[in-house]
């Protein structure tokens, strides 16, 4: 039986790593519901396995983004102050929260992610750095290979971005997902950070946040190595395959399929949470 669970966890993690990589997500938002609904694992075990996978995939992609010069290290470390605090709060709250409520929260987040998936990110325009960002020298620049130009940017609305980073941390610690879905739009739309730099900086931050949360999951003994080890390996494999096939995939079709999948998983998650609550 452990072998079967390990193999199925590996397959699901490859799938979520692949989809996560194709869609620019950590993959946890797909993996947790799949582990709960298909393998009937408790949500705490699924979240613990997922958070380790999130550390692995974000660490692997950050090493590439760092070499490309896309990651804004100063901004990432500064925002990480509030995100890590959020992750610790979330991971501590999760121990006190019941399984039904966690399932319902995850269901709502899945549907929210599906709805926002199709929302077009506004046309980026350079922002001037605000007072706090100027003092901390959070502005950055990188060479955009696709456009062949050097892109320089400032960081605006720093306090609001910091607050949203805390919220992303709470959700990450609570449910074992990366929280990139909140951080990237916050940096891009509010902070005026170009999307490529926002994705790369968010990836760097996700690794640190998830590491903080996974320490707590490990200490609270939610980590089942038979599930977590294949999930980490599968997520790494899936993300690596995904990054190779991304240029050949038609984005719109994939986004539509993914939106439908997220809505189905979200509704199933809410239904199972309510059902579990009624049975108690």
């Amino acid at each position: 039986m452990p072998i079967l669970i390990a193999i199925l966890s590996l397959i699901l993690a490859i799938l979520s790593g692949l989809l996560g990589s194709l869609l620019g997500l950590g993959g946890g938002v797909i993996l947790v519901p799949l582990l709960v609904l298909l393998l009937h694992l408790p949500i705490h075990t699924a979240s613990a396995a997922s958070i380790f996978a999130v550390v692995a995939t974000s660490t692997a992609s950050t090493s590439n983004y760092m070499r490309e010069g896309l990651t804004n290290l100063r901004l990432g470390v500064f925002l990480e102050l509030s995100t890590t605090l959020g992750a610790i709060s979330g991971a501590l709250i999760t121990a006190a929260m019941g399984e039904p409520l966690l399932r319902v929260i995850l269901g709502i987040i899945l549907i929210y992610a599906a709805v926002t998936m199709f929302k077009k990110i506004g046309e980026w325009r350079p922002h001037a750095s605000d007072g706090l960002a100027s003092r901390l020298r959070l502005d950055g620049s990188y060479y955009d290979r696709a456009e062949g130009v050097e892109v320089s940017y400032g960081v605006d609305n720093t306090p609001a971005v910091l607050l949203l980073s805390y919220l992303a941390g709470v959700i990450s610690g609570l449910l074992g997902i990366g929280g990139g879905g909140i951080k990237v739009p916050a940096m891009n739309l509010l902070g005026g950070v170009p999307i490529k730099a926002a994705v790369a900086t968010s990836s760097f931050m996700i690794g640190i946040t998830a590491a903080a949360a996974s320490i707590i999951y490990m200490r609270q003994r939610y980590c089942n190595p038979i599930v977590a080890a294949p999930v980490v390996l599968g997520a790494l494999l899936g993300a690596s395959i995904g990054s190779r096939i991304t240029p050949r995939v038609r984005g719109r079709t994939l986004k539509l399929l993914f939106t439908i999948l997220l809505i189905i998983l979200g509704l199933r998650m809410i239904h199972s949470g309510v059902e579990l609550w009624m049975r108690r």
Binding site: A60, T71, L81, L92, A211, P225, L233
Partner: protein, 93 residues
């Protein structure tokens, strides 16, 4: 300084991911095919290596920025490390 720091962090990240993947693969193979306890220990080591990697990246940011006299980055990196330590302490309760 930023370019050197990025190179160092990139190297730490690659080493961490590859070594943890190796430890986890070995550990799960031993755990599922033999009765040896070594599999459990290797997997635990793999998880610890994985978790330590991003933390080591922040630590290297704190150390390198301190060497280069960048007080702001040293301060923020050190604060992040302290919050991570707080997480470990709270998780122990």
């Amino acid at each position: 300084m930023d370019a050197t720091l990025r190179e160092v962090i990139s190297l730490i990240m690659r080493l961490g991911v590859y070594s943890s993947a190796l430890l986890l693969s070995l550990g799960i193979s031993i755990r599922l095919t033999t009765p040896w306890i070594a599999g459990e220990h290797l997997m635990r080591l793999g998880f610890i290596t994985l978790i330590s990697t991003p933390i080591a990246a922040v630590a290297s940011s704190a150390i390198l920025s301190a060497i280069h006299g960048d007080r702001r980055l040293t301060l923020t990196s050190t604060l992040v490390l302290l919050i991570l330590l707080l997480g470990v302490a709270l998780g122990a309760i």
